[in-house]
């Protein structure tokens, strides 16, 4: 049996700017199948820019570098195709869409993925059973499913709704952008359990966070520190524990 794991995401020398300001500056990151990576770093260091750039947000201009996702050139790929191939972004600030029910939205998302993979639409019963079961797992009341997407949800409910979408879409690579922010201790446990339930040899996760608490639940394989648009240190969970105690200054202080 080979120990050699495949790379699912390979970012090389990525430089990105928005509104004329350079945010990412020659960033490198490689993620293999089955791995969990945590990205930490001070505010404004480029964490969310990295997440949104991978997902394809048009506000971010790629100045140089390459991103490969499952061996494909990600930069030239339409946003929806990235998702259909198995990329998921859990939003830091999930968007409210009143008038579009959570159920209709999720069904459209699943069927888009199935269509991309030349599969028939999901049978209604199968979809609803799965949706209810996943909502239960996350402690989301059934009433959330018929409400507008994130409409009137509390901060914690929105984040759990992101995880619900992740569980339903079963992505190969998930990027969770500060999914733990605004969560109370119990909700964080539920979210962490939700994320852990998707982890296996086939799936990879990138968690962007400010806090070690979530990482203690997730036990990432790598912890990266990003500053000024570059990864400046990589370690394991002990690095996150160290950051919790010492802050970032010892790493970011210009020598």
């Amino acid at each position: 049996m080979s120990n050699k794991k495949e790379y699912v995401l390979e970012i090389n020398d990525l430089s990105v700017s928005t509104s004329g300001s350079k945010i990412l500056d020659g960033l490198n990151l490689s993620v293999k199948k089955g791995e969990t990576h945590a990205i930490m770093g001070p505010n404004g260091s480029g964490k969310s820019t990295l997440a949104k750039t991978i997902a394809g947000h048009t506000d971010y201009e790629i100045n140089s570098g390459t991103i490969k996702f499952l061996g494909n050139d990600l930069i030239s790929m339409p946003i929806e195709e990235r998702s259909n191939l198995g990329l998921f972004l859990g939003f830091q600030y999930p968007i409210e869409i009143p008038g579009l029910s959570n159920t209709a939205f999720l069904k459209a998302a699943i069927n888009a993925q199935r269509k991309y993979n030349n599969l028939e639409d999901i049978p209604a019963n199968e979809f609803l059973l799965e949706l209810k079961s996943k909502a239960d797992q996350l402690g989301l009341d059934q009433s959330f499913l018929s409400r507008g997407v994130n409409e009137g949800f509390s901060g914690g409910e929105k984040k759990r709704n992101e995880i619900l979408q992740m569980l339903m879409l079963n992505p190969k690579v998930s990027i969770l952008d500060e999914t733990d922010s605004g969560l109370d201790i119990d909700s964080m446990k539920i979210v962490a359990d939700g994320v852990n339930s998707t982890r296996n040899k086939e799936t990879s996760t990138i968690v962007i966070t400010h806090y070690e608490r979530l990482l203690n639940y997730l036990e990432p394989d790598y912890v990266h520190v990003i500053n000024d648009g570059q990864i400046i240190k990589t370690g394991d969970l002990t690095l996150a524990n160290e950051l919790e105690k010492k802050g970032y200054e010892w790493l970011t202080k210009k020598k």
Binding site: A55, S83, F88, I97, A109, A112, Y116
Partner: protein, 425 residues
């Protein structure tokens, strides 16, 4: 040359005057009514985009059509496909083709089609010459062309559960002036849905008068279907007595010209109106929506919620005005207009106006216009949904904010049918 002059040059009043003479079946009083209406029209200022009420309205092709073409009122119903009016115990369909009533079924006593010949006394009671003096341009023109009239009149305490479904259909090049009078007596209720179907080069100059008596309840839903070369002018006068409740919902798909003017008077204390409108023109179509609400009694409530979705080169107008009289207290008025522009070439003019002369009121007004929210679009796309479907979801969710005002299941189904038919707006 001033616009006013340009429009005046299009007029030939002889044409209008000719309508009032040489019609052997007109009773004298009807002839007199039309002559007076014609005089009223001549005394009026002609519609001009310089008037605030006609501002931004696409008016030129309408006036050209109105005053350059020969008036021909001898339309037949033969060339129209009449709706298959399947028997539905919960609905009664009243279908008009070119103003001619098309259904053979016997109408219940609260619905009457009045002919100026057969029902002249009743007809005469309804046409108030004094009122005509103060009528708008469109309404006066309706009086000149008017032939028959639909009257829906409930008696005291009558609760009409059967939906009244009116279809007004104009064929190609028809020039029609339908008039509907709704009178809900004390403590009665009625639900009405009207569909307006215009055709190529047709003009429909529609007048609706609603009178809602004490404790009465009226729900009125109206759809004006899309027709590229048609013109629609709607004049709607609504009066509410004490504790009367009126719910009005309008969906206009736009026309070469389409303009609806609704004038509401809350005359009795604790009367309420809930007015919702949606306009969705595309291509080069236009839709104008004007709503005025006068709070003339204390403890009255009004709510105006209007949404515009404009695609291609279409244009729209929202003009809303709420007036609270000085002597009137404890009123509540809410006015909101939101517009979604789906194309860089679409345009909207929005004017929400409050005229408040008594501080003892709760009022709010707002108007917003913008294109599809790109963050919402990004969110949907990151879930694998393609641009076309994502935009369609966002347009529908925008419409849903207002179609949610329809609480009647049967009417909801009919509107859903329109939503599907309208496709990509």
């Amino acid at each position: 040359m001033a616009d006013q002059e340009k429009i005046k040059n299009l007029f030939s009043f002889e044409k209008i005057a000719s309508i009032t003479s040489g019609k052997p079946d007109y009773p004298d009083w009807f002839d007199e009514f039309k002559r007076l209406s014609t005089k009223n029209l001549m005394d009026q200022n002609l519609p001009s985009i310089k008037d605030s009420e006609w501002e931004s309205t696409k008016i030129n092709s309408l006036t050209k059509k109105l005053f350059n073409d020969d008036f021909n009122f001898s339309h037949s119903a033969n060339d129209l496909i009449v709706e298959d009016t399947k028997k539905d115990p919960n609905k009664i369909t009243i279908s008009f083709s070119n103003g001619i009533y098309m259904c053979s079924e016997e109408l219940p006593s609260h619905i009457k089609i009045l002919s100026h010949i057969k029902d002249k006394d009743k007809f005469r009671d309804l046409l108030d010459i004094k009122k005509e003096n103060n009528s708008s341009f469109s309404s006066t023109l309706n009086s000149i062309i008017l032939s028959d009239l639909l009257l829906i009149e409930t008696s005291s305490n009558q609760k009409v559960d059967t939906l009244i479904h009116i279809i007004n259909h104009a064929s190609n090049e028809a020039n029609l002036a339908p008039r509907i009078e709704i009178r809900a007596a004390t403590n009665s209720s009625v639900k009405i849905l009207e569909e307006v179907r215009t055709s190529n080069d047709s003009i429909m100059n529609h007048v609706l008068r609603v009178n809602c008596q004490k404790n009465a309840n009226i729900e009125f839903y109206k759809v004006i279907q899309r027709q590229e070369n048609s013109h629609y002018l709607g004049t709607q006068d609504i009066e509410a007595s004490e504790n009367a409740r009126i719910k009005f919902f309008l969906w206009d798909f736009g026309g070469d010209t389409s303009k609806t003017v609704t004038d509401t008077k809350l005359l009795g204390k604790k009367s309420e109106i809930n007015y919702s409108a949606l306009f969705t023109p595309n291509k080069y179509l236009h839709s104008g929506n004007q709503i005025k609400i006068n709070h003339e009694a204390s403890h009255t409530k009004s709510k105006i919620k209007v949404r515009g979705v404009l695609n291609d080169h279409s244009s729209g107008v929202f003009y809303g005005k709420i007036k609270v009289k000085e002597s009137v207290t404890k009123t509540s008025a809410f006015m909101e207009n939101k517009n979604l522009l789906l194309s860089d070439d679409a345009s909207i003019s929005s004017k929400p106006i409050l005229e408040i002369y008594n501080d003892d009121t709760e009022c709010s007004h707002s108007a917003t216009s913008g294109s599809i929210d790109k963050e919402k679009l990004f969110y949907l796309k990151t879930r694998g949904i393609d641009e076309v479907e994502a935009k369609s979801f966002l347009v529908n969710s925008f419409i849903e904010e207002i179609s949610g005002e329809i609480t009647n299941k049967k009417i909801q189904d009919i509107f859903k049918k329109y939503l599907v038919q309208s496709g990509q707006l």
